[in-house]
């Protein structure tokens, strides 16, 4: 299996993602610069966190037109798994590959802290190591992560089981105080119609070792590789 991590000017979690897949999970991983036009036979593509193109105009608005994004779209259309983390989620939304929008956090502050996430769907390429309802601890670090979608879209996402993760309290209950950015229905991650694209505001790649505050992120990144490595879930 091969993982490709796309690097935009301003990406800053690209090396974290690389480290998590390459050194922790032991999967051949490579970087691809955003001006490239070839994903080099990737089995899964990661759009990492950061501030691509300085987040000028709107987060992800300029990055979505990077040449590599045409390849990412084609790869996703063929069913290839694509995971957009934080800024990567914002880019996927701007590209129209995921619905909704990510607004400024309710508090207007950049929030950097641990959050608790509840897996809402276990039948996705990103959650096979999780049970529906399972609670994990993964950090967030963003200023614009306040998920927004019109009522019709929210209804559709719920109906089709496309809400992947929600922010919850440590007991796994919906609690507005633990929905730090103010996301609609506490949504932290959403799936595409084909369930092969996921956008996630929290950073699983920053939670892969006990020394940096936990390893729950491995459950998400590990799920992504299971299909290819046939490792037991």
């Amino acid at each position: 299996m091969k993982i490709t991590v796309v690097v935009f000017p301003g990406s800053n979690c690209d090396h974290d993602a690389y480290h998590a897949f390459k050194h922790i999970l032991g999967i051949p991983t490579r970087f691809v610069w955003h001006k490239e036009t070839n994903l080099e036979n990737a089995d899964a593509v990661i759009l990492p966190g950061g501030f691509a193109h300085g987040d000028y105009l709107r987060c992800g608005a300029i990055a979505r037109f990077s040449p590599i994004m045409r390849e990412v779209e084609a790869f996703a259309k063929k069913g290839g798994p694509v995971l957009g983390i934080c800024n990567g989620f914002q880019i996927l939304i701007e590209a129209g590959l995921l619905p909704g929008a990510l607004l400024r956090n309710r508090s207007l502050n950049f929030i950097c802290r641990d959050t608790y996430l509840r897996a809402e769907a276990a039948d996705t390429p990103f959650t096979t190591r999780l049970k529906a309802g399972q609670v994990i601890r993964v950090p967030i670090a963003h200023g614009e992560g306040n998920y927004f979608a019109d009522p019709e879209t929210l209804k559709r996402l719920n109906g089709e089981g496309r809400v992947a993760f929600r922010y919850v309290d440590p007991n796994g209950r919906l609690n507005d105080e633990w929905n730090f950015n103010g996301s609609a229905e506490a949504i932290a991650g959403v799936l595409s119609e084909g369930r092969n694209i996921m956008g996630l505001m929290p950073h699983p790649e920053r939670a892969v070792e006990e020394t940096v505050g936990g390893r729950d992120g491995r459950l998400i990144l590990g799920s992504l590789i299971d299909k290819f490595t046939r490792r037991a879930a």
Partner: protein, 84 residues
């Protein structure tokens, strides 16, 4: 003849605008209780060539493609011939 376009991008009415809310409370605190609502958007000046009809059509396209995110924002623009 180059044109000067003024592009206004504002959050849609149905979208929460936390910045506008914060500024509105600040204005109340400063003694302007008559303020009912503040919405904060973006203002862009775009200088472009072509004839007026083409420039208008192209700007419309630019707004839809890049300058505004129509899921959460409305846009409008005014276009003026540049005086030399």
């Amino acid at each position: 003849m180059p044109f000067q376009a003024k592009v206004y991008v504002t959050p849609r009415k149905s979208v929460l605008d936390p910045q506008g809310k914060a500024v509105s409370s600040a204005l109340h605190a400063l003694g302007y209780p008559e303020v009912e609502d503040v919405r904060i958007g973006k203002f862009m000046e775009v200088r472009l060539g072509g004839d007026r009809q083409a420039a208008t059509a192209r700007l419309e396209e630019m707004c839809k493609k890049l300058l505004a995110n129509t899921t959460i924002e409305d846009y409008r623009f005014e276009i003026e011939e540049e005086r030399s």
